[in-house]
Symmetry: C2
Subunit: 239 residues, 2 copies
C-alpha cells in the first residue's frame, strides 16, 4: 500500500499545530508552554514525539528552552535579538547599534509593485516612514519603510517609535519577523538623500531592499535603505 499524498509524520503534525497556536496568539511571547508530558498527553502522542517538534521550533527560533524551567515562546526583544537582521558592521569589527531620527511619516495608496510584493489588494493603504539612522553621531543610513495599514492599524499614530521597529511589531501587533530577504546593490546616492548623509553628490552607496516575513510566512513590511559604506560594511556569514 502506498501512503496518501497528505501523509505527514506525527511530529510534523504536532509542529504544525503548535506553530498555528503561536501564529494565532494562543501563546504569547515569553509565555511558558505546558511541559512535554502535558502536551504529549493532550495530543495523544509520546513525549519523544512532542520533543522532536519542540526542538525543531527551537532551531527556528520560535521557542526557547531552559533546562529545569520549561519551554517559552521566543521574545525577540533582547538587544542581541533585535539586531539579528541588522547586518551593518564596522569592517571586521563589532556590531553597530544606531540611533534613529524619524524624518516623515505619511499615508498613501500602495503602489503596484508594493502591492505585488506584499500580496495586497491594489486599493489598500500603507504608511511610508522615512528615517535616518546615525552611528557615533554620524548619519549613516537613510531608509524608507512601507507598512500596510491592514497589518499595522494606525501604526502612524504612535507618538514614539522604538529604535528597533520589530519590537513594536511584536508587542503591539503580534507580528514576529522570522526572516528577511535582502537585495543589495551599489548605486550613486540619490540627489535628495545626499544631504541627509553628509555625502557629496554621486557618492557610491549601498542600496538594500528588504522584505520582512512574519512567522506565518506573509511579507509584512518592505524597506529600502541607502547606506554610506565608507565606514560600514554589509556583513554576512553564510553556512
Amino acid at each position: 500500500m502506498s501512503l496518501s499524498a497528505g501523509f505527514q509524520p506525527l511530529y510534523k503534525q504536532v509542529y504544525d499545530l503548535l506553530t498555528a497556536r503561536l501564529v494565532e496568539g494562543y501563546w504569547k511571547p515569553s509565555q511558558l508552554l505546558p511541559s512535554e508530558m502535558l502536551l504529549a498527553e493532550e495530543l495523544g502522542v509520546s513525549q519523544g514525539t512532542v520533543r522532536k517538534a519542540l526542538n525543531q521550533m527551537v532551531a527556528e527560533k520560535m521557542l526557547e528552552r531552559q533546562q529545569g524551567k520549561g519551554t517559552f515562546v521566543a521574545e525577540h526583544t533582547q538587544e542581541s535579538d533585535l539586531f539579528r537582521f541588522f547586518r551593518l558592521r564596522e569592517p571586521q569589527g563589532t556590531t553597530l547599534i544606531p540611533e534613529t531620527i524619524v524624518l516623515s511619516s505619511s499615508r498613501r495608496k500602495v503602489s503596484k509593485d508594493e502591492a505585488k510584493k506584499l500580496n495586497l489588494d491594489s486599493k489598500e493603504s500603507v504608511v511610508e516612514l522615512m528615517r535616518v539612522r546615525s552611528i557615533h553621531n554620524k548619519p549613516a543610513i537613510i531608509e524608507k519603510i512601507i507598512q500596510p495599514l491592514s497589518i499595522f492599524p494606525d501604526i502612524d499614530k504612535n507618538t514614539k517609535l522604538p529604535n528597533a521597529l520589530y519590537m513594536l511589531y511584536q508587542e503591539q501587533y503580534g507580528i514576529t519577523i522570522m526572516s528577511v530577504n535582502d537585495e543589495v546593490r551599489a548605486v550613486e546616492i540619490p540627489k535628495a538623500y545626499a544631504g541627509h548623509l553628509d555625502l557629496p553628490q554621486g557618492s557610491p552607496v549601498l542600496m538594500i531592499e528588504r522584505s520582512s516575513v512574519n512567522i506565518d510566512g506573509r511579507v509584512v513590511e518592505l524597506s529600502t535603505a541607502y547606506c554610506s559604506s565608507e565606514n560600514f560594511v554589509y556583513s554576512v556569514h553564510l553556512t
Copy 2:
C-alpha cells in the same frame, strides 16, 4: 557531584569523532559510511545516539542520507551546491551561472593583512589569481583570489581551472568549504578594472570581500570581487 569541565554528551563525542574522520579524509566525498548499527557497535553506543550525531552532521551539510541506501559524505559538486555561496542574482529573479576567464595567476609573498586573515606565517607564499566572470556574455564580475600555497600546493600548475573553484579544492586538495564570511561595500570601480567590466570610470560597484572556511574551521581562501550591480544584485535570505 558536579560534572568535570570536559564533559560532553555521548552524541557530541560521536559527532566530534566522525567529523574528525571526515577532516582527515578517512572517508572521502561521496563515500558510503557504515550503517547506524555498525557505527553504534564499533563505538559502543546505542543506534539512537549515532543517529543524533549523524543528523546534526546532515544539518550542517557534511553528510547526506538516503532512506534505503545509506549515509554518504556530502559531495559539493552538484550544480546547486557549487553555487551555494554564490549570491548574485537577477533582481527578484533566478540564479545566474557565470562563465569565467582567467586574466592572470602569479606567486608572491603573503601580505601582512592576508597573513593575519589566513593565519599564515609572514614568510609564506600565495597564489594571486585574477579572473573575470561573465553572465549572458556580459562581463559582470572581476575578482582577485588569494590561495596559500601551503594549503593548495602547486595550484597554479593546473592548466584548466573549473568554473567553480570549490570543486577543485574538494577533489584535489580535500578542502571542503563549509561557510563563508562576506563584507559588502559600495565603491567607485577602480580605474584599472573599469575596462574589464565595460563600465565608465567612477561607476558605483559592489565590492565583496570574502573569507572561505574549511570543514576544520580554518580560513583557506580570500577573495575580493567587484561586481557591476546594474543588472545583478547581491541577494541573501536571513533566518
